[in-house]
Amino acid sequence: MVTYIIRRLIAAILMLLIVSMVTFAIFFLVPRLAGATPEGMASRYVGRTANAETAKLAAERLGFNDPVVVQYGNYIKGIVFGAEYDYGPGVEKCPAPCLGYSFITRQPVLNDLIDRFPVTLSLAVGAAVIWVLAGVSIGVLSALRRGSLFDRAAMTVALAGVSLPIFFTGLISLVVLSYGNPFSIFAQGGHYTPITENPIEWAYNLILPWITLAFLFAAGYARLTRAGMLDTMNEDYIRTARAKGLPERTVVAKHGLRGALTPIVTIFGLDFGLLIGGAVLTESTYSLQGLGKYAVDAITNNDLPKVMGVTLLTAVFVIAANLIVDLLYAVVDPRVRLS
């Protein structure tokens, strides 16, 4: 068990390293390969207003002229020990872990990320509760009543659900249920109240985004659960469980569901990790000031360090979620530890 945990931990750290390399490559290497000059890149960091002279100076001071390996080293050093940027007008401090420093807002990106995180987390947790409950139970019921009217209706809706882009359903939900028309029972987009301030308002403002986001995922999970359940219920050990006279309810709940749910748990870890790193589309549709919206706005403003920060943070969340899922597996299913 201990070796298994250590192995997973090492894998997670390796993964982080690779993710940091890829993030670095995207932000520093790709623009260069695509033909951007160090000056051009520097001007994207210090703002569009910079003239040629300051851009050149900034490029030198920010190290865009250094070899790629040195740049990557500095980048990692910033994450581990913090960084100081001397880009001309003055020295800017970015304490560890420095996920990036925005020269436009003159803020370490991490501060912003910490501010934005509660919004994204609230959105993700609420939606996850709905989609797991709805998706899994609909999937199980569909599988148990395969071919029934319920099954066909549920699977039709689920197929429609996975075929609808969230920025369309979200927009329609806003048009129909918000924005001051007769059915406007929900808040307009862009409202967020911290749960510590007023839990009821918090939930009220998030209901629409929750349902929209959960609908998409619930549809996918219902399809997956149904398929997994149909597979599992054909296994020999289900027949054995029935043969030894267990009530059908126990067979389904204890034997069937457990087998069917393992892949779902893996996917849930991945999905949830991705989501708390920024529900980009949902936040954009409902103007929620979470991490995803932050990244999108940063791209629009050409403020690349912010995007880099979100990218790294999301990757950390995904890897952490994977690690937790792996460890949970080892606890739940002894076979995993051996493989």
């Binding site: 993964m15 932000f27 051009g40 075929s163 882009p165 048009v175 398929a227 589309l281 791209i299 994977n322």
Partner: protein, 327 residues
Amino acid sequence: MTAPLDVSPGEGVAPPVSGGGVAIQGRSLSQIAWARLKRDRVAMAGLGVVVFLVLVAVFAPVIVGLLGHPPLEHHRSMVDATTQVPKGAFGGISTDFLFGVEPQNGRDIFSRVVYGARVSLLIAFLATLLSVVIGTVLGVIAGFMGGWVDTLISRAMDVFLAFPILVFAIALAGVVPDEALGLSGDALRIALLVFIIGFFNWPYIARIIRGQTLSLREREFVDAARSLGARTPYIVFRELLPNLMAPILIYATLLIPTNILFEAALSFLGVGVRPPTPTWGGMLADAVRYYTIPHFAIFPGLAIFLTVLAFNLFGDGLRDALDPRAR
């Protein structure tokens, strides 16, 4: 010499040749699959819509020439000068403007939806092709060679699956300059989107192909070929690949709708193909600002929905037809 495909003649196999005394004809597996597919009405409807959409995309200039106005042409006379809202009921829908006009500049929504199909389908197809090529090559290598090569490729797949793809894609689409690799404008954006979408999706194909290759590699016909003196390239290209065609076809078909949604999302976020080139995602992004005029959102939104749904229905049917054990 084509080896038998792994299709168990279980449920839903083609009906027996009708009539007594007629000699039983041998049918190829693709004929059997096609017969099965043809009886799946839902899948055929999906296929019909797919064919229709491809035709719309290919003949967009002709269709727009007959039924619409150029997609970039402004029709300010169709829009109320002060409120910027289209004149007439339902956003200016008329025989002249089938889907109405856009607020503010009065562009023909019908033409823009029709032209949007081009960008959407082109990117989705090419990105899928890229994923399939990378995924098949790496999947076959991993499954066939095993050992450390397999470990390496499998780990790479894990890493790719753990990436926050959308954020990465936004970042990547954002950092590339306006002119690169001798391309600029729409061509560059399309190439970039194809690369991003295709490059991040290959593990989905590779995982399946690797699994299939692992089991095929142990089958008797591979042993038979080897004992007849066949070399590895022959085994891979003549024995394995024909047997992998079914899963490749199924999962490529199912990857297309995912890629359409991905492209639409990137365009919606403003990092896709740049305006004024019409894209469905871009139109929805514009529609957000004019939520009082729902028809502006409904047509591009329905276009995405119907396209994705059609591909999903057809893909599901294809899977049922080619692999009766799957559901």
